[in-house]
Amino acid sequence: MLNKKNMLMTIVFALIALVLPLVINAPYQQHILILVLIWATIGTAWNLLSGYAGQVSFGHAAFFGVGAYSAGILTLHYSLSPWWGLILGPVMSMLIALPIGAIAFRLRGPYFALATLALGEIFRLVFLNMTEFTNGAKGILIMPSITSKIIYYYAGLGMLAVTLLVTYLIVHSKIGYYLVSIREDQDAATSLGIPTTLYKNLALLPSAFFTGLAGAFYMNYVAFIDPNIVFNLTNISIMVILVVMLGGVATTWGPTIGAALYIIMGELFRTTLGSANVLVFGVLVCLIIMFLPNGIAGELDIIKRIAQRKKAGLSGGV
């Protein structure tokens, strides 16, 4: 599994990531890079539960939002630095993951998806309505102690690196084999002695942890949250699915590739197409699902084959 090509790619990726902010030093572009890191982290975390274990969650905004609010509330009510949220946020997200798992794992397939969707929405509504604790729709605004983008960039890079590493280690262990077995056929998995609910939780907890971490990081970086932003169904829960589908379901680098494409394309579309940018994104999503259902990293073979066919066609023609 861990072959030379993969190692080489990882090293190249890491080197590029390390020097990137030194080359790109305009604050706006660095901002884009930081957003990519946040989305790559959420995507990687989602991919563990939904890509590898096949439990497609439509409610990851719950973990992102709880992570973000953990950081925000520490500052709002307890006057602590929101950086403590990087510890509290992921822990809280794991805590809410326990009851969410207990409910949703009783259901299979599309019904699991629907239950997570409803649970995610419940969190949004509760945070919207618990105005005394959360400030409700007004949201939480904090004064960031650090303003240098470079620092956020490297912190975000560290967060993504840890997420990727932990996910990689899980996927390439016995747990990973069991998760994929559960995705491929739950009855067969049970017949092989796999306690499926336990292993689904073993995928859910780290997934919630890192999504919550990304949420807490987001609070620190953006310095403003409200329930309709961080618990958003379309812009967080569904978007993370699309990001991973774009990049490659159940692949190591897919979510990162997807996040980079999503954020960069989003910015490009926004500047060139104006209000039509989401429309173009939607069209792209449809095309990806129809023609590259496992994402760019998941369909490398197909993409290569098409490229080769084109090349062959050209040389034949000339």
Partner: protein, 295 residues
């Protein structure tokens, strides 16, 4: 005391009338779910597109919404058929890691429809004004808005006609057969890909009909579809999947509880109650649900 009873009666009647129109939309969804075994997250967007078609007819050409719906329905029927044939149906041959890719495709379709409409109409809130929009009829001391009454009557007529179509015509019977057991239906000579396409078109047309009937009552904006997707979901799950009458009754229940809730419960947590109910039904009343999970 008198007044309280009048208020209660009015709330109940309004809820039932509103629910009748929700039913129509939900029946569209349940038909699609039954035959295709997929969850269509673009259903609300189809309702929304139908509403815009009727809206254009009304504002640009002065066509009454209740006439305009007969333009919106064929338009949406066609749109539904095209989406099914050229997009969703393609996925049958695609091997994807996530079995939910059809659901995700409907999310993509939802995005395209919503944003496409937004491109032309912006996010502005629009409404249709007719000469009778603010008229009311009196039932004893209770006053009921006219568009509610007309909408309910038309919705019930459609539900009845649909029921006749599904039970009495060959095409309708084929749809029901495919819904119950696709393989068996195919063995009996049913052209399942044609049936699936027609069903999706029919579902979309019913969505358009329901939307048009609600047009005089709701503000229209591109994101209004989400509201209808959520409602028809809860209704379909409540009513048991694939069951026309289940959806009709589920619609009435939702309309009623919504109307009562709006009158008697504070706004904030109203939606939470709905969602909790939804999850409870998923967990403990898997009546029609099992058939879908097994596929």
């Amino acid at each position: 005391m008198e007044d309280a009873w009048i208020k209660f009666g009015q709330t109940v009647i309004c809820g039932i009338l509103l629910g009748g129109m929700y039913s129509l939309i939900a029946i569209g969804m349940t038909l699609i779910m039954g035959v295709m075994k997929i969850i269509n997250l673009a259903h609300g967007a189809l309702v929304m597109v139908g509403m815009y078609v009727t809206y254009i007819c009304s504002t640009n050409y002065g066509i009454d919404p209740y006439i305009g719906m007969f333009i919106a329905m064929p338009v949406l029927f066609l749109l539904g058929c095209l989406i099914q044939k050229y997009m969703i149906n393609r996925l049958v041959e695609v091997d994807s890691i996530l079995p939910e890719n059809q659901v995700l495709l409907t999310v993509g379709i939802m995005l395209v429809l919503t944003e496409g409409i937004r491109l032309f109409f912006k996010s502005d809130y629009r409404s249709v004004v007719t000469s009778y929009s603010s008229n009311t009829v009196f039932l004893g001391d209770m006053s009921i808005s006219v568009p509610l009454v007309i909408g309910f009557i038309i919705a019930m007529t459609f539900t009845f006609l649909l029921h006749m179509f599904l039970t009495k015509t060959d095409l309708g019977k084929s749809i029901r057969a495919t819904s119950q057991d696709r393989d068996a239906a195919v063995f009996m000579g049913v052209n399942s890909s044609k049936i699936t396409m027609i069903t999706f078109g029919l579902g979309a047309a019913l969505a358009a009909a329901g939307g048009s009937l609600l047009l005089p009552l709701f503000y229209l904006f591109p994101d209004v579809g989400h509201l209808f997707t959520a409602k028809s979901f809860i209704i379909t799950i409540l009513g048991g999947l694939g069951s026309t009458w289940g959806a009709a009754i589920g619609g009435l229940v939702i309309g009623l509880s919504e109307s009562l809730g709006a009158t008697y419960i504070s706004m904030g947590y109203k939606d939470v109650v709905g969602l909790v109910m939804f999850i409870l039904v998923l967990l403990f009343l898997p009546g029609g649900i099992r058939s879908l999970v097994k596929r």
